[in-house]
Symmetry: C2
Subunit: 152 residues, 2 copies
């Protein structure tokens, strides 16, 4: 469904929103550990998220790190996908035709368009902060560590 890049982007952003703030910025080391992802690769992805679309904010130097502004927390999850150029999941033809349209539909279009609509809604209507709230209800996870983990 999504590339590793997009998956790490989503997990990292949620993690930062969850555990960080403007006066408690998180380092790449902690983030990568927290979401169980390769450190340097994740760093590259965070660059995309700070540059392209300003989903994540960052500060260099001692006490620097990553955090999300209140504005960013209100952004839809789709903004994360946009930053890593993977919005196309919600527009593509399931059979890989160049265009997905009503005027030139593939044989699966009628069935698939309904699913795609829901995917689109999920990514567009869900704010990043909503995922944080969901997590904070308890018993949600964002890493692959075994055993039960205390919710934050």
């Amino acid at each position: 469904m999504l590339s590793k890049t997009a998956e790490y982007a989503l997990r990292a952003t949620i993690y930062i929103a969850l555990k960080g703030s403007e006066d408690n910025k998180l380092g790449i080391e902690e983030i990568a550990k927290g979401i169980d992802s390769p450190r340097s690769f994740t760093a590259k992805i965070l660059q995309l998220l700070t540059q392209n679309n300003r989903v994540i904010s960052s500060v260099r130097g001692p006490n620097g790190g990553f955090y999300l502004t209140d504005r960013a927390r209100k952004l839809p999850v789709k903004a994360i996908l946009a930053a890593v150029e993977e919005e196309n999941v919600i527009t593509k033809c399931v059979l890989g035709l160049k265009e997905c349209s009503e005027t030139r539909p593939c044989p699966m279009h009628t069935q698939y368009k309904n699913i795609k609509k829901q995917l689109k809604q999920m990514f567009e209507k869900t704010a990043i902060q909503q995922l944080v709230d969901e997590f904070n209800k308890g018993n949600y996870f964002i890493d692959n560590l075994k055993g039960v983990r205390k919710p934050c």
Copy 2:
């Protein structure tokens, strides 16, 4: 969503089911042109479909080619995905956690599981022949050729 391999596998199988039969087998040349895909790569994919799961039947030599048996036409679309080892779209966690489960859900699980269920149903409950029937209703497409095309 799906890899090129899976997309070509789906389109090719539908095309063969649509235009071929046991006494009108289709050559790789025609198939690749018919679905607008790279010839040799498509040939490799058809090998997977003939071997792994017997979705497609083939015969070598003059008047040889590819076709679908009546039995194969009744197989679910998922059988095509299985042949190219891409069934995991309907089981994976949207955030890329190693397991998607109720006992260890990610923050998007609650929303995504419903979508995944529908995806699963689409691939499992739809028979290959149904897609052919859908196509034959007219004004459906399986290639990228411009302009209006006469439905078969």
